[in-house]
């Protein structure tokens, strides 16, 4: 298959080298109109991005960065983010575990338009069900964020979906790609705004025969967002995402007397939210939302025994319904945000091994108060939240942050917080706790560079083991994180991110907690809208069954041809894991080898 795709990719690359003029900038044309062609224009790009005022360690992935990656689902985007480790990097659309600064996967809260998608039985967020094309931006908080979000010991990934196109009544995109092992991704998007009413509708299908054994995928998704701008300022937004996924998780070949094991999963999920944003005046803003998540998941294990195959099925129905109310008040020196959350959650488990249905439900409530107090160049952020978790006890989560602006574009930040994670609705007293402390520096003052450095310390206790009987342990993970970006020189810019984590549990180094994580990026974009991106990812998984034998390099190419009459056509292609390296935590979750794909996006 690879031999068929690579010549296609080469052809696409040659097509991409064709140059067409770029569209003019509106500001330049209006300045030229008023000043004449000889008008003086001064433009000096000096910093990749400005420093911001937040005390937490936050990384934002913007729409442009997402578009350059030729991503299929959410993990393809998070893969390139500093401080994030993906345990498995396999066929698009198959399940993936994610860690932030070496946290466990069930410590990360993932939200889509403020709706949590972590399941209730083991707090697993199914990232691979979220199509990349619906995402406008991703905001990642590293370290505990419980003083705002409740259960989020390791961090928060907040996925913000696209808004309707505002300038036209109708706008559309059709995209399709084809790659190794019949990996096909097709999508149609329609969006626009008529008077006060905006809409964004999309549907797509991703499928693959599987880049690894029993790692096939089939993901269908429908997404819609309706937005009504109120006659006064503010808006009402209804969003719904439906996904149906069937995929192979892993395969353990038999032999030597051991049976073979194939594990697959199926999942149907509906996430909806109705949100009201209403600025009452220039000081008060009201945010209110209703949300629901309904999920049906099934895991099927086939064990190849000499007496015949044995199939075991576990089913989980996972529902939550709730809402939030938030009020922000801004004074001269102060911003106060107060809010409350309520969710009724219910999980029903049916297992082939243990007949019958186990049902658990709970009412979760939380109230919080966050204050940002700014005096001169110092901003202080005390926050606190109290949660009635319904089954994991009552939790108080305070945090305190401080930032000091050294210059307009340089900042020192410090943040400390207590947080928790509800790791399972089915295990009594499964709440794990953390104290996180982060100290950082961010600057855009060095010409042509943007730098960020953070020291972190995450002290976690009541961590549940998978052994029997279950015992609770204390873990310490501390380390440092560095990020660097450059401005483009000859249309080329560089990014790098490095995370060092030192971990121990009762004096013993923790296995499979990544000690070194390195992210590299080389980005090229010329005025003719030829774009190339080389992304490198290295994770040293530190022992266990894992392997880390080199950097995984991915190359993404795209070229956009503008046609003023009807829109634009973008040709793109990617080669992933160019040098066919190995990087995984467990043998049976071996990462995908080299594979390639080509595609086209038509915007009209």
């Amino acid at each position: 298959m690879c031999t068929a795709v690579l010549p296609m990719l080469l052809t696409v690359t040659l097509c991409l080298l064709t140059v067409t003029p770029a569209r003019g900038d509106d500001d330049l044309t209006s300045l030229e109109l008023f000043n004449g062609a000889e008008g003086e224009l001064v433009s000096a790009t000096r910093s990749p991005r400005p420093a911001s005022q937040t005390a937490e360690n936050i990384t934002v992935v913007t729409g442009d960065e997402i578009a350059a990656l030729n991503a299929h689902t959410l993990p393809d985007i998070l893969y390139a983010v500093t401080g994030i480790q993906l345990e498995t990097n396999r066929t698009p659309g198959t399940s993936t575990n994610i860690e932030i600064q070496g946290s466990d996967f069930d410590h990360v809260l993932v939200l889509v338009d403020n709706v949590p998608i972590n399941n209730l039985s083991d707090n697993f967020p199914d990232l691979s069900s979220i199509p990349a094309r619906i995402i406008d931006r991703i905001e990642i908080v590293k370290g505990a964020a419980s003083s705002s979000w409740g259960s989020s010991l390791g961090g928060v990934i907040n996925v913000i979906t696209k808004l309707p196109q505002q300038d036209r009544p109708i706008d559309g995109t059709v995209s399709a790609s084809y790659g190794t092992r019949d990996t096909v991704d097709g999508r149609v998007e329609v969006t626009g705004t008529v008077d006060r009413f905006g809409y964004y509708l999309t549907g797509g299908k991703l499928r693959s025969d599987g880049l690894r054994r029993n790692n096939q995928s089939d993901l269908e998704s429908l997404y819609g967002k309706l937005r009504y701008e109120l006659p006064v300022r503010g808006a009402l937004t209804l969003s719904t995402l439906y996904t149906a996924r069937a995929s192979g998780m892993f395969s353990v070949p038999g032999g030597g007397g051991s049976p073979s094991v194939d594990v697959s999963d199926r999942n149907r999920e509906l996430i909806s939210s109705l949100a009201l944003l209403l600025p009452l005046d220039n000081r008060f803003v009201l945010d209110a939302s209703l949300r629901t998540r309904q999920s049906n998941a099934e895991m099927v294990g086939r064990i190849g025994l000499p007496s015949g195959p044995l199939q075991q099925t576990t089913q989980e129905d996972d529902d939550s319904t709730g809402g939030s109310l938030k009020v922000s008040w801004q004074g001269g020196w102060q911003l106060i945000v107060a809010g409350m959350d309520y969710d009724h959650v219910k999980v029903a488990l049916r297992s082939g091994q243990f007949p019958g249905e186990e049902v658990r439900s709970a009412d979760r409530r939380g109230v919080y108060l966050n204050d940002t107090f700014t005096v001169g160049n110092v901003a202080i952020t005390p926050s606190a939240r109290f949660d009635w978790t319904g089954f994991g006890g009552n939790r108080f989560s305070p945090s305190f942050g401080i930032t000091y602006a050294l210059t307009e574009n340089s900042l020192v930040r410090g943040y400390t917080a207590r947080g928790y994670s509800l790791t399972s609705l089915n295990r009594a007293d499964s709440t794990e706790k953390v104290w996180t402390s982060q100290v950082g520096f961010e600057s855009g003052d060095v010409p042509y560079l943007w730098l960020k450095a953070t020291l972190f310390r995450n002290d976690t206790w009541d961590v549940l083991t998978n052994e029997a009987p279950v015992i609770k342990k204390r873990q310490l993970k501390h380390g440092a994180e560095f990020e660097l970006r450059t401005v483009p020189v000859y249309n080329t810019s560089f990014t790098t991110g490095y995370t060092y984590i030192r971990s121990n549990e009762a004096g013993t180094v923790l296995q499979s907690v990544p000690r070194h994580t390195l992210k590299l990026g080389v980005h090229y974009r010329d005025p003719s809208r030829l774009q190339a991106q080389l992304v490198g990812n290295y994770i040293d998984w530190q022992g266990g069954q894992g392997r880390s034998n080199g950097i995984l390099w991915d190359l993404h190419l795209s070229k956009t041809f503008e046609y003023s009459e009807f829109g634009s056509i973008e040709l793109f292609g990617s080669v992933r894991n160019i040098f066919d390296n190995k990087q995984y935590v467990l043998d049976f979750y071996e990462n995908a080898g080299r594979w390639a794909e080509v595609g086209v996006r038509c915007h009209f």
Partner: protein, 282 residues
């Protein structure tokens, strides 16, 4: 101890005093003399705290993050790109100036770059021109031309309209006005007036011996007769008043206000050559 106090005093004296708490985030598309002049006018009359960000100073500017973390009460957009970006911050009111091409939404008010059409009509009337040719792109200037037609109905001026949908159509549309107009009214419309078509207006003016009334000084040296231009500094001052009004709880007008001050300049040579009425009072 006194040394420690002295060191602390020196530290706090020398420490930068950037005020992160501010009311207005001034977002400017790029460095330009005209934009800077408008910003100077704004800062002259607006006494509150302002943070200014010039978009071209940064390769990546995450305005959503800045807005959420620094909580400005108002965004002042200067230029088209700045307005386009500012309007995506739905919870924060936006006012704008020096934005010609962007489409302001209903949450944004401001001062446009388009003078009240009545000012042009009175000048055309004073010049003694009755049939006035106007080239415009309906997608860009349709609403403005509609207002001009309504106002013209109350005057002696009759507008002879020609639509252009691409810059290359301008010379042909001008040719279709031969013998049918006493003057040309050049609009700030980037489809009708582009680097490739500007000369055609003045060639028409010379050939047909009709004056061109325009919107920028730069066209006087090319052969324009009269220019009614905006005063960028005063636009900034006008916007400062609007900003204060919004911060005091006033509602934004859905459509932008025209600049209140008009600067009229004439090319005396052309006026004499074409034997036009002098512009007394303008």
């Amino acid at each position: 101890m006194s040394l420690l106090r002295l060191l602390l005093l020196v530290f706090f004296t020398l420490a930068p005093t950037l005020a992160l708490a501010y009311d207005v985030l001034l977002l400017q598309s790029m460095h330009d003399k005209g934009y800077d002049e408008a910003v100077r006018g704004f800062k002259r009359d607006y006494r509150g705290s302002v943070r200014r960000i010039v978009l071209t100073d940064y390769v990546e500017l995450d305005l959503t993050r800045i807005n959420r973390e620094e909580h400005p009460k108002l965004i002042v957009a200067v230029g088209d790109r700045a307005l386009d970006l500012a309007q995506k911050q739905h919870a924060t009111p936006v006012i704008y100036m020096m934005a010609l091409n962007a489409k302001p939404h209903r949450v944004a008010g401001g001062v446009t770059m388009l003078l009240d059409p009545g000012k042009y009509l009175s000048v055309l009337e004073a010049l003694g021109c009755e049939r006035v040719g106007v080239l415009y792109d309906p997608a860009r200037s349709g609403a403005y031309v509609k207002r001009a037609v309504t106002l013209a109905a109350r005057s002696r001026v009759k507008l002879v309209l020609r639509e252009v949908h691409a810059p290359k159509e301008t010379p042909a549309m001008l040719a279709s006005l031969k013998g049918k107009v006493d003057a040309l009214w050049m609009l700030p419309d980037t489809t009708a007036v582009s680097p490739v078509s500007t000369e055609a207006f003045f060639l028409f003016s010379q050939a047909e011996r009709v004056p061109v009334v325009t919107f920028a000084d730069v066209y006087l040296s090319m052969g324009g007769a009269v220019a009614l231009t905006i005063d960028r500094h005063d636009i900034g001052r006008q916007l400062a008043e609007l900003a204060q009004n919004v911060l005091d709880g006033g509602q934004l007008e859905e459509s932008g206000a025209p600049p209140r001050k008009v600067v009229t300049r004439t090319n005396e040579g052309v006026v004499r050559q074409l034997k036009l009425n002098p512009l007394a009072g303008h």
